[in-house]
Symmetry: C2
Subunit: 310 residues, 2 copies
Amino acid sequence: MINQNFLINGESMTKWYAGVEAGGTKFNCIVASGPEHILAEIRIPTTTPEETLPKVIHFFEQVKQENQIRLESTGLGFFGPICLDHESSHYGWITSTPKLAWRNTQVVHYFEEQLKIPAAFDTDVTAAALGEGRWGNAQGCRHFIYITIGTGIGGGIINEGKPLHGAIHPEVGHMFLPHDRSQDPFVGICPSHQDCWEGLASGPAIKTRWGQPAETLPANHPAWQLESDYIAYALGNLIVSFSPERIILGGGVMKIPGLIAQVRAKTVACLNGYVQNEKLLQETDQFIQLPGLGDRAGELGAIALAQTIS
Amino acid sequence: MINQNFLINGESMTKWYAGVEAGGTKFNCIVASGPEHILAEIRIPTTTPEETLPKVIHFFEQVKQENQIRLESTGLGFFGPICLDHESSHYGWITSTPKLAWRNTQVVHYFEEQLKIPAAFDTDVTAAALGEGRWGNAQGCRHFIYITIGTGIGGGIINEGKPLHGAIHPEVGHMFLPHDRSQDPFVGICPSHQDCWEGLASGPAIKTRWGQPAETLPANHPAWQLESDYIAYALGNLIVSFSPERIILGGGVMKIPGLIAQVRAKTVACLNGYVQNEKLLQETDQFIQLPGLGDRAGELGAIALAQTIS
């Protein structure tokens, strides 16, 4: 772990950063310098930009005042789609999101103006990937992927140590997968694609298919065989596409006991030795892991994101 | 197009490069400085390294001698899997290929030793991508993908103007796709995965499914509806994974008249507006294109690859 402490005039001084993990139901806000130096945290409901954003600013201002600190920069890990193109006039905006109140909301400029410090912007899943790379279970990896499987499914891709954005940014939760309707006649719940990965395997998809929430289904329920099949096919596709060194699987659904073990075995099985990645084949338990930062991967990821610009 | 001509002592002097596109049936070898300056070309059958490689060297030596030129560097675009990790002791090798005679063949060192010039090494499809980016239909794009659909299916990914390798290199032809067995009961021909993209949609897959070669099937044959379905799903997956600005579709199967138009329409249809990529939605004919370099994408790509190191 990088030492965030600097001795100035004989006193230990920690550099503090503001982090925001913005999701569809809540904003997780944190002031920290790393997982072992968390000064304050708060959850603020996601309602409208007019209501939510000022509450976030108020929290950071309050923490600064109460602790007599300054903040170095802000890391903003947001639900998408967002504009990450620095050459676009829409850089720093939430763009065509299905959350209508948030469509075309300027985020980066607002935070920079309110807090008077620079802000770094990326998707929530890319922030989580940066957090896992810095302090979690992807330390030392240059090519890795963070996936969240919960209310939705999304992924942050790190290639050569840097977030991969492409023209907009990846949306791997919407990939198309084998769907054997004789085994699983469920049509899927994605409003755009019906039976894409998210449509078949997100928390709400599991709940709709089986009529009860994922966390209430016992470990021996057939739900988990299907779920691990879909996740394994998707990881197979991510492996043949990005050739990662590691995949971190976060999100609520991955907390089901035993699920990750099934996913590991099935991912290796479906690739059937074609990809001669020794780390995948010989150290599968390391290759496919849960987040080292647990539920804080996203918000600490926002701190890691903030640290990329200061 | 970059001007390859330099005036020295009042005379025009072209810089010449050696290019090798190494495939399963033949090595396409070329001496050129670009698509408009091709000095010599040859096709050499792919038999064994002991037989094929000396013939390739002999060709380049002969062209040098006959034309009284020197070669600046060699670009080697090879069938995979290959080792691209400069820190590995196997850098420059063909590794676990199913072509047994070529398994664990040292390629880069051999060419550098024989020709006494530096050699750049990558997959055949990444070389083709570099060629299309430099002189073909992906000029000006920083994020794009070259796909070949022929004897096999493979893809070269360019991200931020550079080949994406990850830990080994992508093998996108082996991605898993929706396969509705009630529409298409064909089990697929991939020896590792049966009904992955290559197993369902490569030239040999089409031939096995319908009992006749792809090029003999008329344009209104149901083969092309299935084929465009699979390609569209695969391009959808590539788009949500890499967020490219453009996709170039090469290889023999893509020469079927009308196929690319079906692929364009179905790719947009299957993503169903979810990815708000204006280039995809409004300029689909540019977003999904055939190679500007035609059948020479691979060998001229090897020249573009050679030029990255000289």
